[in-house]
Symmetry: C2
Subunit: 377 residues, 2 copies
C-alpha cells in the first residue's frame, strides 16, 4: 500500500482565500478546516461517530493533558491516540507548551526547555523540544506541533523578539528530532507578538527549516480581532503558498471568516465544545443562551439552517429543560449542534471560495449574525 504523502492541494482561490484538500497518512481534510478539540482523548461529550457525523475530518489533541494522564508511553503501547480513542481520521496535537503556561502549577523556562509541575498531582516534568516531539511521536500524531513559547500579550518589542528567537531555536531542535514518516507532518509556529517585522523574521526562519505546514501562534490571547487580523495578514505573505496555514486557537465564527479571507486554511478552538457544556448555542443569528426562561415553551428548533438532525429535531423547550435539569444529554446535544454549526460554516466558506463569492458570503453571514436570535413566540 502506498501511503499518501502529506500534501495540500489548492483547487480554488478567492482573493487571498484558498480552498482545497489536505492529504495525510490518515485521510483527507477539506480546507479551510475546523478541528474540534479533543483535549484528553475525547471531544468532550461526543462519541467519535457523532464527531464524524458533524462533518469534522480532523481533530486536535492536547499533549500536555495526554502526557500527564494516561501518559504518552501508555498511549503508544495501546496503539497511539487515534486507536486509543477510535478516531480513524488525522489528528493534530499541540506541543504542550501552551497548557504548561496556562495550567501547570509552577514552571521554569530555560534555553533547554521548561520544567513544570502537573496541575493534577504536582508531579515534576521536564519538557524539551526533543521530548515534545517524542511525545507526539508516541501519540502517533498525524501533525506534530513544535514546542514554542506563546508570547504573552501585551509584550514589549524586546520581549516579543527574545521570546520569538527562543521559539525559533526550539523549532530548529524540533525539526531535527521529528521522525519523518510518509503522510505525517510537523508544523512550525510563527511568533513575534503584534510586531510585523518580527512575524516576518519568524516566518522566514521557519520557512528555511522547511516544515510541512506553518501555524500562526500567539494570537487570540487578548489582542482583539483587528490586531489579530492585522498580524495574520502581515504574516501570511511570508509563508510558502503550497503549505497549509493554521491559526491556532481561533475562534469565533467572524474570526474564522476573516482569517479565511486572509488565507488561513486550518483552525481549532474550544468554543463550540465548551459553549455546548455551558448552555450556549451558535445559530446563524448569533449565540443563544438556552438556560434563559424565554425558551421554556418554545417548540422551535435551534437553527433549521444547520443540516444536522440535532439542530433541526429538538425543540428549544426540550434543550432548555435538559439544561435546567442538569442532564448530560443537554451538553451532548448542544455540543453536537455547535460542532455541526462550525462544520457547516467551513463547508459554506469552501463553497463560497470555489464560486468566487466569499466576500458576499462573509457580508451576509455577518449581517445575519449581528441580527440576534429569533423573536420569542
Amino acid at each position: 500500500m502506498t501511503v499518501q504523502p502529506f500534501t495540500l492541494t489548492i483547487d480554488a482561490t478567492d482573493g487571498a482565500a484558498r480552498a482545497g484538500r489536505l492529504d495525510t497518512a490518515h485521510g483527507a481534510v477539506d480546507t479551510p478546516a475546523f478541528m474540534p478539540v479533543g483535549t484528553a482523548g475525547t471531544v468532550k461529550a461526543m462519541t467519535v461517530e457523532a464527531v464524524e457525523a458533524t462533518g469534522a475530518q480532523m481533530i486536535l489533541g492536547n499533549s500536555y493533558h495526554l502526557m500527564l494522564r494516561p501518559g504518552a508511553e501508555r498511549i503508544a503501547s495501546l496503539g497511539g491516540l487515534r486507536d486509543f480513542m477510535k478516531w480513524t481520521g488525522p489528528v493534530l496535537t499541540d506541543s504542550g507548551g501552551f497548557q504548561i503556561m496556562s495550567l501547570a502549577k509552577f514552571r521554569t523556562l530555560s534555553e533547554e526547555g521548561v520544567i513544570f509541575q502537573s496541575h493534577l498531582d504536582g508531579s515534576r516534568h521536564n519538557l524539551t523540544p526533543e521530548r515534545a516531539m517524542e511525545i507526539q511521536n508516541l501519540l502517533g500524531s498525524t501533525v506534530s506541533m513544535v514546542l514554542d513559547e506563546c508570547t504573552p500579550f501585551p509584550a514589549t518589542e524586546k520581549e516579543a523578539e527574545d521570546s520569538m528567537q527562543l521559539s525559533m531555536r526550539w523549532a530548529e531542535r524540533c525539526r531535527g528530532a521529528f521522525e519523518q514518516r510518509p503522510g505525517y507532518a510537523t508544523f512550525g509556529i510563527v511568533q513575534g507578538g503584534v510586531y510585523p517585522h518580527l512575524r516576518e523574521a519568524s516566518a522566514n526562519a521557519l520557512t528555511a527549516m522547511d516544515f510541512e505546514g506553518y501555524a500562526i501562534g500567539g494570537l487570540a490571547v487578548g489582542e482583539g480581532q483587528d490586531m489579530m487580523f492585522e498580524t495574520a495578514a502581515a504574516t501570511i505573505p511570508h509563508l510558502p503558498a503550497d503549505k497549509p496555514r493554521y491559526l491556532m486557537g481561533v475562534g469565533k465564527p467572524l474570526d474564522i471568516i476573516g482569517a479565511v479571507q486572509r488565507g488561513v486554511d486550518m483552525f481549532d478552538c474550544v468554543l463550540p465544545t465548551r459553549s455546548g457544556r455551558t448552555a450556549q448555542a451558535f445559530t446563524h443569528y448569533g449565540t443563544v443562551n438556552l438556560r434563559n426562561a424565554r425558551h421554556a415553551d418554545d417548540p422551535r428548533p435551534l437553527d433549521e439552517s444547520v443540516s444536522s438532525s440535532v439542530s433541526q429535531t429538538y425543540s428549544r423547550a426540550y434543550l432548555h429543560h435538559l439544561i435546567k435539569a442538569e442532564e448530560i444529554l443537554g451538553m451532548m446535544l448542544l455540543t453536537w449542534h455547535n460542532l455541526a454549526f462550525y462544520q457547516q460554516l467551513m463547508a459554506r466558506l469552501r463553497a463560497a471560495i470555489r464560486s468566487g463569492t466569499l466576500d458576499t458570503f462573509a457580508h451576509t453571514f455577518s449581517t445575519d449574525w449581528s441580527r440576534g436570535d429569533i423573536e420569542p413566540l
Copy 2:
C-alpha cells in the same frame, strides 16, 4: 389508519415463562422486555438513537420528575413526552407515588391522595389517583400506572393489608379516570407485602377491574431475592394469562432471569444506567469496576460477547482513562454498553424460551456470572 389495539401475543412458553409481542399504539415490544429508565425526559447520557441502537423498544418515564419539571401541562402543549424527547416507541410512566415516598421533602397520605413538597423548590403539590391519571394522559403515556402506596418493607400483615386495600381503592379510582384510547393502557399494581394471601386478594381485586396489564409492586425494596421470587410466584397464578405482567424496579440480571422463569414479561431498573455513570460495567462474567487501576493498560474490550460496537470496540484502558479524567464520554459509553448488555440478555431469554432451553440458559448464565471478571493480563 387503524390503530393497533393494546394486545399481548404469546407465541412460546417454557415452564411458566412466556415469549411474545406486546402491540401498542406506538409500536411493538418483544417480551420479555427491559425498559430503560428515562427519568426526566431522557435516558441519562444517551441520545434516543443510541437507546434504540441498544435494542430497547420501550422506555419508562417518571411522572414525579416530569410533573415538577418541566410540568405535565407544558409537555402536553409540546406534543407529549414522546415528541418532547423524540422517542418514537411506546413509553410507560409510573404514577409518581414511589418517588413521592423516596424523594419529596414532606408528604401527607390520606384516603384522598398525597400532599407533598417538591424536592426541587419546596412547592406544594396534591397528587390524587385522578390527577395521576390526568398527568399521564397529558404526558401521552402509552402505558399509565395506577397511583398506589408502595408498602414499605418490612411491614406487619396488618400494615400490608391496610396499605394494599388503600391501593386497591385508588386503583378503582384510576381505572375510572383513565381515558380509553386504542393502543393505550393502564396497568394495575398488585401490592400486599410479602404475604401470599394479600397478594392473591390484590391480584383478584385488580383483575376484576379489568386492566390492560398488571404490575407487581412493592418488591425490590430490601426483601431479598428469595422472598422477591416467592412473592412473584405467589402472585402470578392469580393474574390473567393473556395480559402483560410487569415486575417494577427489577433488577439485577439474575433477578430478571428468575422472574422471567416465573412468568414476568416486563421490567425496568435504573441499574444499567446508574451503574454506567459510576464506572460499573456489566459483563457476562459479572460486574466490573472500570475505575480500578487493573484496567489502565488493558487493551481488551469490555465484553466481546455483547454485540454492540461500544462493548467490542473500546479498550478497558480507554474507558478507565475516561473515568479517571471524569470525561462525560466515559458515562456515555458505559451506559450504552450496560443497556446493550441488558437488551442482549432479554433477547437471549426470548430465544431460550422459544427453543425450550430457558433453564439451561439460566444455569449457564448464572455460572458465567459467578465466575468473575477475566484475569488481568
